[in-house]
């Protein structure tokens, strides 16, 4: 039920792939990313400089992150892409299912120089982003101070938008119910904990508008359809910086996550793919993305390369980690994701 636009785009991409697949020759690298402001930023920070430096032509495709497309490619043995950007939980799913290649870090860079949890067996981190709360101060006079204000419908009446996915929402529900950030995943691993999270979500269910695609939160805020929304910080910052929207970001109780990139099984140019991974994993290059979208580097030694004006807007900037925050537990979502997604969908439909 997710991602209609994505599917249409993917259909277009698939058609494009067929033609590209036949015409592919040695120095072309096909990358499928999830579009929008994020892909624009990757183009400026990585695709174009990499092309210039190596002479490798980058063919871009778009999708919004559902593994079904990649599985179909791998199953049919016709894999027209060399690299695909994915979410962390999806990396684990794809790794277990044998859809993604296990990476050889000797061809990429020192694994211990990545932030913990951002260098996985089948996916290497691209950037760190925050799941945050955004609002429009011209609509909401009373400023929310924490993401957990989502659950306060008396102080902040009106619709709120949340991602149509159990991850983050269940964590926030437990936090709002008084569970300390350190215990969230321990509680969520028990059936009682899951019940407790859903019970908390029940209290605001009728006030929630659900979003699928990363570009939607900013649209929902702009059209005043909702008074507040959860979002990926870069998308909101993009709306503020380039579209001049008056939105504000609430960092307190944000959830930190990593974007990943992976090689699908059966990719035609794995050597070029590794070359690209090594390129973007260099600290200097890894830090470059922050100049185009406010997502932070994943290399621990990249902080000094981040442009000074970009630094304060990053989710892992010191100021934004001064309040409560949670680092998403990818292992947990790898283990329980499937069951929780099912439960979440049943809960939504009821």
């Amino acid at each position: 039920m997710k991602h209609v636009r994505k599917n249409l785009l993917a259909l277009a991409a698939a058609t494009a792939c067929m033609t590209i697949g036949h015409a592919a020759f040695a120095d072309e690298l096909s990358i499928m990313a999830s579009g929008g402001a994020w892909q624009d930023a990757q183009r400026k920070a990585w695709f174009e400089p990499f092309s210039k430096e190596t002479g490798v032509k980058i063919l871009e495709q778009e999708y919004l992150g559902d593994l079904g497309k990649v599985k179909a490619m791998v199953d049919t043995g016709n894999v027209p892409i060399d690299l695909v950007t994915v979410e962390t939980a999806t990396v684990l799913q794809g790794c277990d299912a044998g859809i993604l290649e296990r990476l050889d870090y000797s061809k990429i860079g020192p694994r211990d120089k990545f932030i913990e949890g951002s260098a996985l067996d089948c996916g290497v981190g691209l950037d760190a982003y925050g799941d945050i709360l955004a609002y429009d101060p011209t609509v909401l006079k009373d400023a929310p101070t924490s993401v957990l204000d989502l659950f306060d419908t008396t102080k902040f009446p009106g619709k709120r938008a949340m991602r149509k996915f159990p991850a983050q929402n269940l964590e926030w529900a437990l936090m709002a119910d008084g569970v300390a950030p350190a215990d969230i995943y321990k509680v969520l691993a028990t059936p009682e904990g899951v019940d407790r999270a859903f019970k908390k979500l029940d209290t605001i269910k009728k006030d929630i508008v659900w979003w699928d695609a990363g570009a939607q939160p900013a649209q929902l805020l702009a059209s005043k359809e909702v008074v507040m929304t959860t979002a990926w910080n870069g998308r909101i910052q993009n709306a503020i910086d380039t579209d001049g929207k008056p939105f504000k970001i609430v960092w307190n109780n944000q959830i930190l996550e990593y974007d990943m990139i992976a090689i699908p099984k059966g990719a035609k140019s794995p050597d070029l793919a590794y070359k690209y991974l090594a390129y973007i994993s260099e600290p200097k290059n890894n830090a470059k993305l922050a100049s185009y979208i406010t997502y932070g580097p994943v290399r621990t030694d990249a902080a000094s390369f981040v442009a000074p004006d970009a630094l304060p807007k990053l989710p892992n900037a010191p100021d934004h980690l001064s309040g409560a925050y949670l680092v998403a537990d990818t292992e947990f979502w790898g283990d329980y994701g499937e069951d929780l997604v099912k439960r979440f969908n049943a809960w939504l439909a009821q």
Binding site: K2, R5, R343, N345
Partner: protein
Amino acid sequence: MSALQPSDLDRPALARGRSAAADTDLKSVSAALRRAEFGDRLRSLALAAPLLVLLALSFGIPIVLLLSRAVYDPTIAEALPKTTAALADWNGQGQPGDAALAALAADLSDNQAKGTAYELAKSINARLPGARSQVLKTVRKLENAGGQPPLDIMKSVPFWTAPGTWPAIASGTHRLTSFYLLSALDLRWNADGGIERVPPEQAIFLQVFMRTFFVAAAVTLATLLLGFPLAYLISSVPKGLAAILIVAVLLPFWTSILVRTAAWTVLLQKFGLVNDLLLWLGVGSDRLDLMYSRMGLIIAMTHIQLPFTLLPIYSVMRTIQPSQMKAAYSLGARPFTAFRRVYLPQVFPGVMAGCLLTFILCLGYYITPALIGGASDQLISNFIANYVNVELNWEMAAALSFILLVFTLALFGIFARILGFDRLKLV
């Protein structure tokens, strides 16, 4: 007795002889005709063959293959050959014993070596929620055994001796399975071999099927109420004006469904045109939540489906002579009686065809509910897409598709039976 005269007795024989000859002629003529017709038919079939082959290859076979996943799932049987053998003489009661446990341990290690452990874990998980992590955990333990006997490792994971585990595995070792079809109807096998409803927090699909049928029926009714008078108007105005009206109907029909859906999101949103207009007219004092609601969904779908209902009705109305109504009036019928007894029976096949077309198309709606509907307005296609794209559970998607297909065909069958196929006038 002179020359033989044909007697009364002979006459029938003669007649018989004659008719036999005529029969033979007729037969040979009709045989020749059949031969000629057969040749013609063969030629026309040959002309249509590329299309038929294309349809079979790109449409028929893939659909059958995909739908067969709903009942044919060999994953567990193929992944657990030793366990399957060990379970052969298990009666399904209690625990199957150490031999089966050891066989399972061996099978799990084989799967890990072949890289199919995940597929297996996922398949068992579909039958037994929570099994996925248990299987993978056991596989990892077996891999790092360090000399510990596999049987001890199996026994150290309580999951493998829990009550529900072995019946689920045993049911999975059958290649043909009713599991997915039952799940698609919110049913499951219970421990005693009977069929029961799943617990309420897991039951979704019956509700979603009902919702899909309700939305389809509501949209069909709305298009009929809007389309019938409009079709009548188009069929009764002068040709030039009718052409303009038809273009007005067809113009949105030619526009991409995605564009029309997006346009409706602009119109229906909280600070959109519809709400502005209602507020300006003073209809309500508050802005309505039309987006992400059932109401908005039905409005948008009605707009998209209107031409599908209208065109068959219009095509039938066009063939009805206005003189018939005049004749009815001249014979003393009041307008309503004339409409009911002369006009309506003639347009009825068109009305049924239009409604059927719209109803069946609505059952498969996907884009519009996803963009305009809220979480509780998602139709069955949205769930099918989710199982295909996000959860990678194609068996479940196949089962839901199969049930939707059966419902649709049954409905089509009922309509066809009431009306007769030849009376269904689809444009």
